[in-house]
Symmetry: C2
Subunit: 561 residues, 2 copies
């Protein structure tokens, strides 16, 4: 398992997929650069994500800032709760996340108190992995990067893109013409100041996310037609590992309908970007493991050399976020639910007793009486002194100054807090998983190949003249220009033997290579070579552009040529 990690570390660095950032300054752990191949891989992956999750479902796509003020992250709960426990080595001073140190000794390291953690460290004589020193006391470490906005306003770098969507709910709901369900998507960087990230690209301090917040009316019936007849690999919180038909999973109430809907979509998406579907499972969080905002969460885990790894989470966040922001900001974060037909409800109204109000309030009595008449209460909720605010005064109206009557009122609907289902994608982890799952070595030569699907491949085509002379090179260069103009990302390569050039292309997952040879000059044909089968076909140069467009868009397969 470690062997593949080494091979991938080699290929990603050497061929420009990604590498540790700030190398010339000794590196800073938790930060990575995507190189020329990796940045395009990420872009293509996100474009496919947009097509499959956003455009095809008609979601709203927004882009909010990464820096946010204090107020937002106080309301979201991050200022108070987004911390890890850490310990420092007394000898070398290095700091470590506690949960990783003690995970072999307890089941749920995240649920322990500092005292319990210290006990476990002592009992098991857990030592510093770097110098074998002893650890000091458990400390709390805040995971948000903080900064100062303007002269003195505290701000944070978002730890998730989600809050930028929640706080905009009223505006987005209006733009969506007050319709639910409403899905809002966002792609962007998020930031977590991990204490000592040591898992390569899998645990970064600055990372790429793609998130959807689907706002739904919890009382609206779920549209069962969204559920397909496909098999889902689940691991429930009770420990049951099962393959279950999606329709059956929905009917048995295993999870919310939209969670199942997104499981389906995720399976098909992961397959389309090269993930081995036999190495995917949806694992339900244990109740104690749930984040503070979540009622139910299913992680989409992918099996890689590090074991089953959380890559995507689907959380049922309920109304937690909108409620918190409504309480903190005072803004109305509710949606409006229209009743199918007008409803009659019973409310309490007030009849002022002028014989008491008059002598008591004199000139103001009429105004106070009108204000009292305008008030509405739930049934049986009016007692005692009423506080009436009027023209800047507050009048304490005693109980004997009014009577309560019970009346009927017609209402067309009601305001409520929508619930949220959140599929959240860790893009860097997904990229790593794709690289592991698409990596193989040719049986005959041992050459390394990345089996990127054409639509995902960063570079679609290499154009290789058999020899860099006899005008084969200029023909190849002209083809490159033509293809680039048509939006097909290709490169020209005349260096080394054809076999070596194919091998170079294979290593960065180029799905097709065009070779220009002497026959090209005779009959205007070139060869197309497909990466995985290594088969070659001759086609007319004039058809090249259209054929490649279709191959790259996966509208036709190479075998169909």
């Amino acid at each position: 398992m470690k062997e593949i990690r080494g091979k991938i570390a080699d290929i990603t660095k050497r061929r420009g997929i990604y590498w540790g950032a700030y190398e010339i300054y000794g590196g800073v752990s938790g930060f990575y650069d995507y190189g020329p191949v990796g940045a395009l891989l990420k872009k293509n992956l996100l474009d496919i994500w947009l097509e499959e999750f956003v455009y095809s479902d008609g979601l709203l796509f927004i882009d909010a800032p990464a820096i946010g003020p204090d107020s937002v992250y106080k309301a979201s709960g991050h200022v108070d709760k987004f911390t890890d426990y850490m310990v420092r080595c007394i000898s070398c001073g290095h700091a470590f996340r506690v949960d990783e140190l003690i995970k072999d000794f307890v089941d749920n390291p995240d649920l322990l108190t500092p005292d319990e953690i210290e006990k476990i460290i002592e009992e098991n004589d857990v030592r510093c992995p770097d110098c074998n020193g002893k650890f000091g006391k458990v400390e709390e470490f805040h995971l948000m990067f903080s900064t100062t906005i303007g002269l003195d306003k505290r701000g944070f770098l978002r730890p998730e893109t989600a809050q930028g969507i929640f706080i905009n709910f009223p505006t987005l709901y209006r733009i969506n013409r007050e319709k639910l369900p409403m899905g809002v998507a966002q792609i962007g960087k998020a930031y977590r100041n991990e204490i000592s990230p040591r898992q390569g690209v899998l645990r970064q301090r600055e990372f790429n996310m793609a998130e959807i917040e689907l706002f739904v009316d919890p009382e609206e019936k779920f549209n069962e037609e969204l559920i397909e007849d496909i098999e889902l690999p689940l691991l429930t919180r009770d420990g049951f590992e099962l393959k279950i038909n999606a329709k059956e999973a929905y009917k048995s109430g295993l999870a919310n309908g939209y969670i199942i809907y997104y499981m389906q979509k995720i399976l098909s998406f992961l397959k389309s970007v090269g993930i081995d579907t036999s190495k995917i499972r949806f694992r339900q969080h244990h109740r104690e493991e749930l984040a503070h905002y979540s009622k139910d969460t299913w992680d989409c885990e992918i099996l890689i050399s590090n074991g089953w790894t959380e890559v995507i989470g689907i959380a049922y966040r309920g109304d937690y976020d909108l409620k918190r922001h409504m309480e903190s900001s005072g803004a109305d974060m509710r949606a409006f639910r229209k009743f199918e037909k007008e409803r009659k409800i019973r409310i309490n109204k007030i009849v002022p007793r002028m014989e008491i109000l008059g002598p008591r309030y004199k000139a103001a009595a009429m105004k106070i009486a009108r204000a009292m008449e305008a008030m509405e209460f739930e049934e049986n909720s009016v007692h005692g002194t009423l506080k009436i605010e009027l023209d800047g005064h507050v009048y304490d109206v005693p109980e004997e100054a009014y009577e309560v009557i019970d009346v009927e009122k017609k209402v067309s609907g009601e305001r409520f807090l929508p619930h949220v289902i959140e599929p959240s994608f860790g893009i860097d982890r997904l990229i790593y998983s794709i690289i592991e799952h698409t990596y193989y070595e040719r049986q005959d030569t041992g050459y390394k190949v990345l089996r990127f699907p054409p639509r995902l491949a960063p570079i679609k085509v290499g154009i290789l003249p058999l020899m860099a002379k006899d005008s084969l090179d200029s023909i190849a260069r002209d083809i490159m220009k033509e293809l680039r103009t048509a939006g097909i990302n290709g490169y020209y390569d005349d260096s080394g033997s054809i076999g070596r050039r194919y091998a170079r292309a294979d290593e960065i997952g180029v799905p097709f290579c065009i070779t220009v040879d002497y026959q090209t000059k005779e009959d205007n044909t070139v060869t197309i070579r497909e990466r995985d089968s290594t088969k070659q076909k001759r086609i007319n140069k004039d058809e090249l552009k259209d054929t490649l467009k279709k191959l790259v868009a996966e509208e036709i397969l190479f075998e169909e040529l």
Copy 2:
């Protein structure tokens, strides 16, 4: 001029292009949200940018982190030099950038010392724009957002994406197989903690950039074929405003060849995204105005309601950045220049005098002699005591222990620091300019329209059933699904009159609307309506997808249908 700003503020907020961020918490100036229309507009703009600048020229595209360590921004000069002068109002405490307060009284406010600034404020009785209070002393204000990485490492949010490219030069140069010119592009957020940003989206604290660093060999002859026969609108540093043919501009030495090359590309790019080319000029910086790293800079300015506004900069950065990072990090940031043919150079070598070394160093004498023989020096640079490091010892070898000889050596090339040409795009300012330039009101109705080119338009098509009944609605919905699957972003709208629905589409620049009417049911045709001409044509529903694809990719024009 102010009128158009008000209209655009209305449309951008109301229709979801962008709005001030953190509204429910009272807003934080300098931060904006791109809404559902604006986020797609930005994405399409960046995709066009990638096509026209990156893919078509075969540049490398990378993605580096936004958070960087101290060391990088010390070396780049930002820690020392990236500051503004500010003053605080003694009465209300509000802070202001000095240059904006005094720009009416001096020509180059950025070049003054604090004392000079205070004098100007006093002489002209400059007061607080908010409360008319007096100002205190001039203070220096650092424009980078700072943060802490890990427990205690100072870090900054990048003020430009450029440094992420420079520090990776050695790796990128290797990946590019040591070829120059090498262009490297990056798109991403950058951050400047402006004191009190008051110019809406034109001056943001978190903003979007697209940058190219083109690394060239300053001794390599520029390829004149890159220069086209087109007219450039220039404003030189001497104050000459001229329209000049690019070839002539190049020949007369007005600017570096690559700067002119990028002026051409920028003109064509801006035109393709809807900018009025009569409102573009390239303004050369005055010598005093140049940034600390630049030898020559031309700003591409666009005329909007705020006046001529810098949107893109093309800076000749020389070897400033690579040199600084080489000095600071110790890494070799040089490229290799191969001589056309091997050159012979004269160097000094050393002949050890064993008769002196032997008695002096005994057993080590032979090793020392060999080390001396291996040394090479420039001519006439060897004198006095030589320091020879060997097995951890340093031996001071006196002058009498060696002779210097003059020999000839063959060298195949030399290492040098490449120069950098940097076209740097302010994406938010460009988006604002596009909105202003594409905005118009219909002469007959006064309805508002954004004339987005189809390729740029966030939403490509509205699908409108004439009536939401008689299965016209279901036909329209099916069309929407089909188009979405084909990657054409469209929406369904059955609310209000057709005229109103067209008007709604026009306001967010939807270039085409499809109407499904009763004739559709008879002969399977629908109408396509083009936004600007408001002309309609009937086409067969089965041809819709392919026709729209071509219209949206701007491969055919509506008139050609």
